[in-house]
Amino acid sequence: MNCEECHEREASLHFTKIINGEKTEFHICEHCAKEKGEFLPGSNSFSIHQLLSGLLHGDGHVPNTPSSNFIPPSLSCEKCGMSYYQFAKIGRFGCDNCYKAFESKLNPIFKRVHGGNTLHAGKIPLRAGSSIQEKKQLQQLKQALQQYILNEEFEKAAETRDVIREIEHRLQQGRDT
């Protein structure tokens, strides 16, 4: 079949459009398709988000209990206003808080996209990272403090309490600046 545009080259692209039950077909060659479309290289591809959106809607594949599978229409992010339905449709988060807002839904998605992984194992930013380290230290110290109090080791408890206050103070300052 010849291309309907140039009538010279072999038609390699075949389009079928169905609008309100009315079917139209056209057949053109790659060369003319490019001219018609004027697309940038790579931009005409089936987007990853369309694929992803399919995955997100396919929540049911995961052996979930029906109750955890239910998405309340009100599930949305308070920072950017994106609802879970919107997220599932476009396959993209609207802001960093969406990760918190949709937390309960994310593990199955990450597992599917990242080969079963759900937790980060790579780089930690230098500045934000130091506060993460301190938060972990803080948790450990608080546990130790409880232990000292239980054991009635009050001197050690007082020392630990001072260290905790110091770190908390530092974290607070870091947040303010």
Binding site: S45, F93, G94, G122
Partner: protein, 354 residues
Amino acid sequence: MSLERFISDAISPWMKREGPESDIVLSSRVRLARNIHQYVFPIAADKESAHEVISAISTCMSEENEEAEKLEMLMMETLKPVQKRVLVEKHLISPNLAEQAKYGAVLMNADESVSIMVNEEDHIRIQCLAPGFQLEEVLHRANEIDDFIEKNVDYAFDERRGYLTSCPTNVGTGLRASVMMHLPALVLSKKMSRIIPAINQLGLAVRGIYGEGTEAQGNIFQISNQMTLGKSEEDIMEDLAGVVTQVIQQERAARQQLQDGLKLQLEDKLFRSLGTLENCRIIQSKEAAKCLSDVRLGIDLEILPGISKTILNELMILTQPGFLQQYAGEVLTPEERDIRRATLIRERIKLENR
């Protein structure tokens, strides 16, 4: 403008250097996706917040930089479509930034080996390129820039999920590493169709030269990691490098086999392609890419001596529609482009024979 001058302007300076394994690996690339905590992602951003992101990054990058590297910033709104297209063809920006990003911008260094896209899908996308097979070096470079930006910006980061990105496929490290490979012998010996599924099974993607969904023009393939969560940057790079090393060996073996078994047929094919490029008057990009791939193979196998190695890299980019139109200084129809393309290739090869 003279052709020599146009070529030297059109080809990114980093491409003129030769890297390791450059007979097969054309270039290595790393991209890091980052977002700023205080702003919503570009997809949900209004004009005001998008402009704040741009100014936050431009102030941050204009600060004293230890390498004292100057980055030039271009705003997408101020560029003509053909200018944007040229940047895409040089791999300095993504098609997405050129076409869709509302308040997009890009910062580039002088030799174009570093480009930072602003307000693409994520606030910040740091991209580093290098010739040949040098993944470690490009990751190191990208990390330095990442650390530099982080001094002045609060990244969207979560202890459990890592760097938070707009698309769930980038969360974690935000790292996409890719290697552009010229694999004519594997294609010719029909081994590529078996290799691609094997690579896919290892969690890596194989694509054409311009990324997602594009055809492998001129036997050029891009291999990249898919997973970004649950593995460290080093492990991701190691897995990719391991596969690339194996593909290099396979391609070398296939080239050897062709030379041993089908030397005359191979020579015939390669010389014919050179003849086509030297004599064509009208040529479509697909045929041009095929012939350029043959000529490059001929250079690497020392069948076609006296032609510079960079000819494939150069002409693959120069014969793209954006560059042809920029060289012509006007918008061209596909037919006009095919004529211009033929002229440009012939003139470029003449430069070699001088």
